[in-house]
């Protein structure tokens, strides 16, 4: 009931599922001035999708997802600025592999624990990554950030332009790929196993499911997707700062996902969209006080809409059906 998307549900695409892509393309043609914001929203959607996969479906609580996001961002940045590898596809691949490996290594440790211990360990992993990046100044640029990132045209054809047209479409393609992969996963038996682990891991052990292996697989995969999101951030900004590894992106991401709705796939679309647009709008109207607006929005959602914004729309639709 709370999680309408899953193995038991009808896995055919509904017409509403095409809606985000239609909107995204419409934005490209109708709002050319907002493409840089659009690219940022898309990057965060991919990042939120990766978190939803482990938090919403597998029930792994994390406050350190930025470790993979940041690693992906730095791998792309270092490849370009220090090693002269400017091909965006290659950068993307390396970022995904590096973040996936880090996911595998840290997941092997983190996933042996539960609850608060797990939360603290994920936080610790991110903090260690941050400090490494801060200290390794010759490689990462330290607190000054890593500049001098150049990205070659995609497939040698599409140059990253100042208006962010290429960046926007490039982000859109990758988000579409990520969405398609994750959607396939959660409707598969593997996805069903994850939901089972989230709901009752003792019982999953009892039926003989390899719980730890399943969790490690999904954690690695999620880390790799977060790494791709990080690489996107670097490619669209051509700059990497220490803040990508900080606590803020992890925390903000969690806020976005909760705002949209956890464990329902499209919550990861709605959350970043609402959060970043509200942030952009409020920051322009009230540069000094915009955090207040964001805080107010969160309080309202937490008090009145436990399922996030999509939870509200579910409730509204249910009520309308009852009346009809």
């Amino acid at each position: 009931m709370n999680h309408p998307v899953g193995y038991n549900a009808d896995h055919r695409l509904r017409w509403t599922e095409w809606l985000p892509w239609v909107v995204a393309l419409a934005v490209f043609f109708l709002l050319p001035d907002y493409l840089s914001l659009g690219a940022r929203v898309l990057t965060y959607i991919l990042f939120a999708l990766s978190l939803d996969l482990i938090l919403g479906y597998a029930g792994i609580i994390t406050l350190g997802h930025a470790a993979f996001f940041g690693l992906g961002a730095y791998v792309t940045g270092i490849l370009s600025a220090k090693l002269g590898v400017n091909d965006p596809l290659l950068q993307m691949l390396c970022s995904a592999c590096a973040a996936g490996l880090l996911g595998l290594a840290t997941g092997a440790l983190v996933l042996r624990t539960h609850g608060l211990t797990q939360l603290m360990l994920t936080l610790a992993v991110a903090a260690v990554c941050l400090e490494v990046a801060n200290k390794a100044t010759p490689v990462t640029g330290g607190a000054d950030g890593l500049s001098g990132v150049t990205v070659a045209p995609i497939l040698g054809l599409f140059r990253f332009d100042m208006y962010g047209r290429t960046a926007y479409l490039w982000c859109l393609v990758l988000v579409f790929g990520g969405w398609w992969l994750i959607r396939r996963l959660i409707y598969s038996p593997f996805g069903a196993a994850l939901t089972g682990i989230r709901e009752n891991s003792v019982r999953m052990h009892a039926v003989g499911a390899p719980v730890y292996k399943r969790l490690l697989t999904v954690y690695t995969l999620s880390a790799a997707i977060a790494g791709i999101a990080g690489a996107l951030l670097t490619q669209t900004n051509q700059f990497v700062g220490l803040n990508v590894l900080g606590f803020e992106p992890s925390g903000e991401l969690l806020v976005m996902l909760i705002l949209g709705g956890v464990g329902r796939l499209y919550g990861a679309f709605v959350g970043p969209l609402v959060f970043l647009i509200a942030q952009d709008f409020l920051a322009r109207q009230f540069p000094e006080y915009w955090y207040f607006g964001i805080g107010l929005m969160l309080v309202v959602v937490v008090l009145f809409a436990r399922g996030g914004i999509l939870g509200i729309s579910d409730a509204v639709i249910a009520r309308m059906r009852r009346k009809a």
Partner: protein, 397 residues
């Protein structure tokens, strides 16, 4: 006949429509600063400096030319946010000149954008040594750390033999340490130890105890301007290092005019080198401080970031005047390169045409009580025009 007539009228109207906006030029300036998060206090100074200048100099613009300031929040040292809002200011708001920026990484992130879009940028604060060179459309009127740390090292070597350096562990700290140590050693002094204190570490006592045990004559300190400097100063006082005859030295960042009152008597006698003090008695500064207090309250002192923003606006207004309100990016950069000011609150300053970096005066100051309040009293003018020493060192190589 009729159609030709209406065509003529139409053409004339079109011509007038084209000519009319030229009479009321609006120059759009984008100000990127930090309005939220832990760095909001610094960003606020830049905001105040720029707005105060605009308010007092509205009549210094050519007739018919207006300036519109568009402010945006970069939320702190977040290069990616700074880059995005700079992009939006250029693409969406169509600004012609950019200024502001507290943090060096943010300026570095904006650099490629200013080069591609040909938008002149004037740094009001960000002071990393190399960052101005990253784009031909960037200039700086703030300062570099080496400009104060290097002459301070030279000066200290004349009076003291043994020094210990303690800086915050991030790029500007490393720069300050390198320049002080170089100046001190060149002057014949001995550096008995250096330590880099983590930026996120608020407990200074263990570090200070170690320094006290090493018994240097002077302690050179650098922290990012703000609360950390106060905490380190308190540790210095609590451990009785002043009584152990260890003199406390630093760049002006450790005794900023807006933080000074919170430091207490531990700060008394601290010697710093900097390009600006609110307590300076130059007439230009007195008028500036009076205007600031009138606008924002008698208890507030303008810090060096206010001056940075003030002078950035002065340089920009100069460029607007010289071009009669029609901003051409390349001409603007040529004008900025020639920028000289005798009316800056900090004293005579200019921009080095070669590096587009600032040439500053430097003053030796001591914290004293003036009328019951702590103040950075200027003792001596060390130099009236110092270029960034780091770039000069590199030229010699």
């Amino acid at each position: 006949m009729k159609t030709r007539m209406s065509l003529c009228v139409g053409l004339a109207a079109a011509a007038m429509a084209c000519a009319f906006p030229a009479a009321a030029q609006t120059v759009k300036i984008g100000l990127i600063s930090t309005y939220s998060g832990p760095g909001a206090a610094q960003g606020d100074q830049i905001d105040k400096g720029a707005k105060l200048y605009m308010k007092l100099h509205a009549d210094k613009l050519p007739p018919g030319v207006k300036v519109e300031l568009i402010t945006r929040d970069d939320t702190g040292a977040n290069g990616d946010v700074a880059k995005r809002i700079a992009q939006e200011l250029i693409v969406r708001d169509k600004v012609q000149i950019l200024t502001g920026v507290v943090w060096t990484p943010n300026m570095a992130a904006i650099a490629p954008l200013t080069a591609e879009a040909k938008i002149p940028f004037v740094s009001a604060n960000a002071s990393g040594a190399k960052v101005v060179g990253m784009s031909p459309y960037m200039a700086r009127v703030s300062f570099t750390l080496c400009q104060s740390a290097y002459p301070l090292g030279q000066w200290a070597a004349k009076k003291y033999k043994k020094a210990y350096s303690a800086v915050s562990d991030f790029a500007p700290g490393h720069e300050a340490e390198g320049c002080f140590v170089r100046g001190f050693k060149e002057g014949g002094g001995e550096v008995v130890g250096t330590v880099r204190i983590p930026l996120a570490n608020p407990d200074f006592v263990p570090f200070m105890q170690r320094i006290k045990d090493a018994k240097p004559d002077v302690l050179f300190a650098f922290n990012p301007a703000g609360k950390q400097a106060t905490a380190m100063m308190k540790a210095y006082g609590d451990l009785g290092m002043d009584k152990a005859n260890i003199k406390y030295l630093g760049t002006g960042d450790i005794t900023t005019d807006e933080e000074l009152q919170g430091m207490g008597d531990a700060a008394l006698g601290v010697i710093t080198m900097h390009h600006y003090s609110a307590a300076a008695d130059r007439p230009a500064n007195k008028a500036f401080v009076a205007a600031y207090k009138k606008e924002y309250g008698a208890d507030l002192n303008p810090g060096f970031m206010v001056v940075g923003a003030w002078d950035a606006m002065d340089a920009i207004y100069g460029a607007i005047r010289a071009q009669g309100g029609k901003i051409d990016p390349d001409k603007t950069m040529e004008i900025l390169k020639q920028y000289k000011s005798t009316t800056s609150p900090r004293g005579p300053m200019s921009i080095d045409p070669e590096t587009r970096d600032v040439i500053n005066p430097e003053y030796l100051r001591e914290v004293r009580k003036v009328g019951g309040k702590l103040a950075n009293v200027e003792l001596e003018t060390i130099t009236t025009a110092i270029k960034d020493p780091l770039k000069e060192f590199e030229k010699k190589k």
